[in-house]
């Protein structure tokens, strides 16, 4: 008879499960116990040594004690050991092995940091790319994130052209699949010594990853289509301060564009206005601006308000003719300590076609991660009109680093009657801005929306109205 040693009594089953758990935990605990044993061994009290005999004195003061000389030790007494550090004993050294291994891992960083300082690598690199005054130079540029996702190029700049305070900048980036983007910028703050300023922006794009979502505010995420866009836009702006913080400007623009469905499926349908067609257009854009912010990069107080009106007319055909206007108001409120700032922004833009002509789809107003609704992908919401509200809370984190928490809400619309709170799209997020009072470094933000989570890493400020920045090619 084979005795069945498996007892099916519930108490035994419980004991069995408990034992199984205990055994498993013991295996996990074993190494910990070994370590603790080593630690305990290291902590063992040293064998007591006889106190050094001191000369008996009638009045023993502490100050006298410190001046006592050690008495000669009798031969039968054990030698006093030299003071040693407990942490140099072998158990401690054994327990420190992981720290030593970590030191090995860190060793290359250490050598690099020492070489960096020893050979002044920073200045060597800056001298390689920049002039002595650090006002001009040429340096390589890399794209990480943004519309181009990855790219390499060059930037050349001069912030003191002709030593007269004029600025010039040229940038070019080339990405995968022959995508490329370039910008040129020139600014003369005092045109021929007059109170007028002159600016010129050039933008060149050859890009096959444009996103278009048909349906305006009702577009679905899965309705994404892709288009290829070749574009050249050249603006010349002349303007001047009027009174105080109020300024005006007039921009003339040459716009040459050619759009078609991309090889990346699904392509944007040919029926979309402007797709599979080219356009050469001239535009004129008067602008009024009020800017009382204390700092353009790290504003803590003031207003920024801007209104523009744009008329664009195709010159090679009559297919496209449209006008548009845009109003934007930003208010910076220092809530406390002067550096906890609440930013409130309202933005409204609208375009209308003129005389039965159309508006090419790539010129429609956009709300996306580059245009105020930061939780949505490129090109997500596009229509004739866009209404947007932003609230952002900015606060100091470290010396040149700000944290921010933001809420964006808005919608695109074809007609004003389509505007409604229930049509609004929302995104919210938080991030870090690396910025000083003199320049902007970059921003890293994470935003959440109904479409999901997006992370942004951008080298440009938020809410920039330049064409490159609006399309996600911020330089």
């Amino acid at each position: 008879m084979k005795r069945n040693l498996q007892n099916t009594h519930p108490a035994s089953q419980f004991t069995g499960h408990t034992c199984a758990f205990t055994i498993s935990a013991s295996w996990a605990l074993g190494p910990v116990l070994v370590l603790l044993f080593l630690h305990q061994a290291a902590c063992a009290t040293k064998a007591p040594q006889p106190a050094q005999p001191t000369e008996a004195s009638q009045q023993v003061h502490f100050s006298d004690l410190t001046q006592e000389k050690p008495q000669p030790r009798p031969n039968d007494m054990p030698q006093k050991p030299k003071p040693e550090d407990d942490e140099n004993r072998w158990p401690y050294r054994l327990l420190a092995v992981p720290e030593v291994a970590w030191g090995g891992f860190v060793y290359p960083f250490k050598k690099l940091a020492i070489a960096y300082e020893q050979h002044d690598l920073m200045n060597r690199a800056l001298d390689l790319f920049l002039n002595d005054e650090r006002t001009a130079g040429v340096f390589p540029k890399f794209a990480l994130g943004g519309a181009l996702s990855s790219g390499i190029g060059l930037t050349a700049f001069n912030n003191n052209l002709f030593r007269q305070g004029k600025e010039a900048r040229l940038s070019y980036l080339r990405g995968t699949r022959d995508n490329q983007v370039g910008t040129a910028f020139y600014r003369d703050p005092s045109f021929f010594g007059s109170p007028w300023f002159l600016e010129s922006h050039g933008f060149v794009l050859d890009f096959d990853e444009g996103h278009f979502f048909a349906g305006g505010n009702r577009a679905r995420e899965e309705d994404q289509t892709n288009f290829e866009l070749k574009q050249l836009a050249w603006d010349v702006t002349i303007g001047r301060a009027l009174v105080g913080d109020l300024s005006a400007a007039l921009t003339g623009r040459l716009l040459i564009a050619d759009a078609k469905g991309s090889d990346r499926l699904p392509p944007t349908p040919a029926s979309v206005a402007g797709n599979n067609s080219s356009m050469t257009a001239l535009a004129i854009e008067p602008r009024l601006r009020y800017d009382s912010r204390d700092n353009p990069f790290r504003a803590t107080r003031g207003w920024f308000a801007e209104g523009t009106f744009t008329y664009t007319d195709q010159v090679d055909r009559d297919q496209f003719r449209y006008l548009g206007y845009r109003v934007e108001v930003q208010r910076y409120l220092p809530v406390f300590h002067g550096n906890r700032v609440l930013l409130l922004r309202a933005y409204l833009a609208k375009q209308d076609s003129v005389g039965g002509a159309a508006i090419p789809f790539y010129e429609l107003n956009l709300l996306d991660l580059n245009n105020g609704l930061r939780g949505f992908d490129r090109g997500r919401w596009q229509d004739r009109g866009a209404l947007l509200f932003n609230a952002e809370w900015r606060f100091p984190v470290w010396q040149d680093v700000e944290g921010d928490i933001f809420l964006d809400e808005g919608q695109v619309f074809g007609d004003y009657k389509d505007i409604g709170l229930k049509h609004f799209r929302y995104s919210a997020g938080a991030g870090l801005r690396f910025v000083t009072n003199r320049k902007f470094g970059f921003r890293f933000q994470v935003a959440v929306s109904e479409d999901g989570v997006l992370t942004l890493l951008r080298g440009d400020l938020e809410f920039i109205q330049q064409r490159a920045a609006k399309l996600g090619f911020g330089f």
């Binding site: 084979k2 005795r3 040693l5 004991t15 408990t18 034992c19 205990t22 055994i23 935990a25 605990l29 910990v32 116990l33 370590l35 603790l36 044993f37 080593l38 630690h39 290291a42 902590c43 063992a44 009290t45 040293k46 007591p48 040594q49 106190a51 001191t54 008996a56 009045q59 023993v60 003061h61 502490f62 100050s63 006298d64 004690l65 410190t66 006592e68 003071p83 550090d85 407990d86 140099n88 401690y92 327990l95 420190a96 992981p98 030191g103 860190v106 250490k110 940091a113 020492i114 300082e117 050979h119 200045n123 001298d127 300590h337 906890r340 809370w393 606060f395 100091p396 984190v397 470290w398």
Partner: protein
């Protein structure tokens, strides 16, 4: 009939597993080990660290501030997590099962012997005002002001403070440092004042002299080197000196105020690190982060706002004749209100340059965490820089980046440092601040006032945490009768909440069986710092010694634990235990050690 059995039954495995659990709990419960009690520590007045050694290599790692800062802010902190003994001990201290590692070179009286690192000075034996003001300087140590000065070296940024090295007519070499143009006197005064305080505290520092430099006196040595762009040395020229001197404030007579730091004697062997040991120095047997004088330096540095306590501001010098290393602190241009050529930032002294704690708080609280020091206090005197006592918190104070020794400062280490800092009276502080030679006496009074306030904050804080009974001594009250007397530093230095105190003490016979102590008499309460060692105690100890199996091993040691109360016995402080060894032949007690409860 066959009975099959497994080699070990589930119940046997269960028992073994439960036994492991029991062992684990037991080990965890005793994971902490305790510092060596005073009776086991030696009484030392002079450390044995001056034995001749072979000339060591020059330490090169610590001089690189970028690596040192990055390491201490990031890599070293992570590495400490991987040091299992330290991590376990830290966890043990959190749950109250372990004590922190106490300094390994404190003697039986919890003091530091004189050594190549430290010399007991003002904290032990009061120095006169003149001695405090002179510091380490000597009568003929100042630069010769009659002959020419030869510039021998300079670099573009001399520790970020403009300056260069000169040799005077008598052949002595000095490092000259100047003030920034917007803050005349700030840097030079900080160097002068702080060097005096650190010397008085006991640290080894260079001789600092204030001089008025006549630019016409300076000549460039033919072999002088200038470390210019990319830190590449090239021959020094007059234009280099001119470029440096043009940037610094000139007096109406064209002379320039400078601090001249005399080169230390010996062969420079690079900085000492605040962690580890020098492997090629057999005299260096204590890990630097476990040295009392380096841990306690945290308090002295907090007092002086010495935010730049990094390895690069320390220097080992090899005495070629005596053949041992001596350890110095150097470069005090980031003390008091100065941060080299700029005033201290408000956050220095309150947070690290990269302080993950405050950054984390700022992020998590989304700006609603307002650092107490965030709003700068308006500074009236450009010569002072930014130096204040309002925001100063002795426990929160920290240097620009973590210092391994400071990270391990225990309460006993801090108390030791606080004793030194509070030993400076108002008059002492005035005398040493006066060496800064501020033109505006209001600035001088301001600096002295801030130092006094910081001193008082340190005294009040640490004397509240550790029972500050000192200067224990045994006095004869009558033939064959002794009394133990002591001083209450909180009372004598004015940090006690009341003007009087009462003390209670218990006397026990210390038996070497660990936790097992026999209680001899009952608790006594006295209102004066004097404990009579009664004849009955003597008799009791003599009897117990007679009963001991091996009197030579089972020494007769009495421990007297004393607690203090400033409210008539409502609340008692932590204890201080004095150990007395009874000599049966002489019939007398000898004071052999001191322990402080923290």
């Amino acid at each position: 009939m066959t009975i099959s059995q497994t080699s070990s039954t589930p119940s046997a495995r269960c028992v073994r597993a439960l036994a492991w659990w029991g062992v684990a709990v037991g080990v965890l419960a005793t994971a902490g080990c305790f510092s060596t009690p005073a009776v086991d520590r030696t009484i030392l007045t002079q450390a044995d660290d001056q034995r001749p050694i072979q000339e060591p290599q020059e330490e090169t790692e610590g001089q690189w501030a970028l690596w040192d800062g990055t390491d201490k802010m990031i890599f070293y902190r992570i590495g400490q997590l991987f040091n299992l003994s330290r991590s376990l001990r830290t966890m043990g201290t959190w749950v109250g099962l372990a004590d922190p590692v106490e300094a390994q070179n404190a003697d039986a009286f919890d003091e530091v012997p004189d050594s190549t690192w430290f010399t007991n000075r003002h904290g032990l034996t009061r120095l006169s005002s003149d001695e405090l003001a002179d510091g380490p300087t000597t009568e003929d140590g100042a630069p010769d002001m009659t002959g020419p000065w030869t510039a021998v070296s300079a670099k573009e940024s001399l520790g970020s403070t403009p300056g260069f090295v000169i040799r005077d007519a008598k052949g002595d070499t000095y490092l000259l440092k100047f003030d920034p143009p917007l803050h005349p006197e700030m840097t030079t005064a900080s160097e002068m004042i702080s060097s005096r305080f650190l010397h008085a505290a006991g640290y080894h520092v260079p001789e600092h002299y204030l001089v008025d430099v006549d630019p016409k006196r300076i000549m460039v040595d033919a072999k002088a080197k200038f470390r210019g762009r990319y830190h590449v040395p090239r021959p020094m020229t007059d234009d280099d000196i001119k470029a440096i001197l043009e940037r610094v404030p000139h007096g109406p007579d064209g002379k320039i105020r400078a601090m001249a730091s005399k080169f230390l004697p010996g062969i420079p062997k690079g900085p000492f690190l605040y962690v580890g040991q020098r492997q090629d120095d057999p005299n260096d047997r204590i890990r630097h982060e476990n040295r009392r004088e380096l841990r306690g330096l945290r308090i002295v540095a907090a007092f002086l706002n010495h935010t730049d306590t990094k390895a690069a501001n320390a220097l080992d010098m090899y005495d070629a004749k005596e053949q041992y290393l001596r350890h110095y602190l150097i470069d005090f241009s980031s003390t008091l209100g100065a941060d080299n050529a700029d005033p201290q930032l408000t956050r220095f002294g309150n947070e690290y340059f990269l302080d993950f704690g405050t950054i984390g708080q700022s992020m998590i609280k989304a700006g609603f965490y307002v650092k107490p020091w965030e709003v700068p206090i308006r500074m009236e005197y450009p010569a002072v820089g930014y130096f204040e006592s309002d925001y100063f918190d002795p426990e929160r104070w920290r240097p620009t980046y973590p210092n391994p020794a400071f990270l391990r400062t225990t309460l006993r280490d801090a108390y030791w440092g606080a004793k030194i800092v509070t030993s400076f009276t108002d008059g002492d502080i005035d005398a040493m601040v006066h060496t800064g030679r501020f033109t505006d006496l209001r600035a001088e009074r301001y600096v002295a006032g801030v130092l006094k306030a910081r001193r008082d904050k340190i005294g009040r804080y640490y004397f509240n945490l550790v029972n500050p009974l000192e200067r224990f001594s045994l006095v004869d009250t009558a033939p064959s009768k002794q009394a133990l007397t002591f001083e209450n530093l909180a009372l004598s230095r004015g940090y006690a909440p009341t003007k009087t105190a009462v003390y209670r003490y218990t006397i026990r016979r210390y038996v070497r069986t660990g936790f097992d102590r026999e209680v001899v008499p009952v608790v006594h309460i006295i209102d004066a710092p004097r404990i009579l060692l009664s004849p009955s105690l003597v008799q009791t100890l003599r009897l117990q010694l007679d009963r001991a199996e091996d009197p030579t091993k089972d020494r007769s040691v009495a421990s007297i634990q004393i607690q203090t109360s400033y409210d008539g016995g409502g609340h008692w402080s932590k204890g201080v235990t004095a150990y007395l060894r009874f000599d049966p032949e002489a019939g007398r007690f000898h004071l052999i050690g001191l322990d402080r409860e923290t």
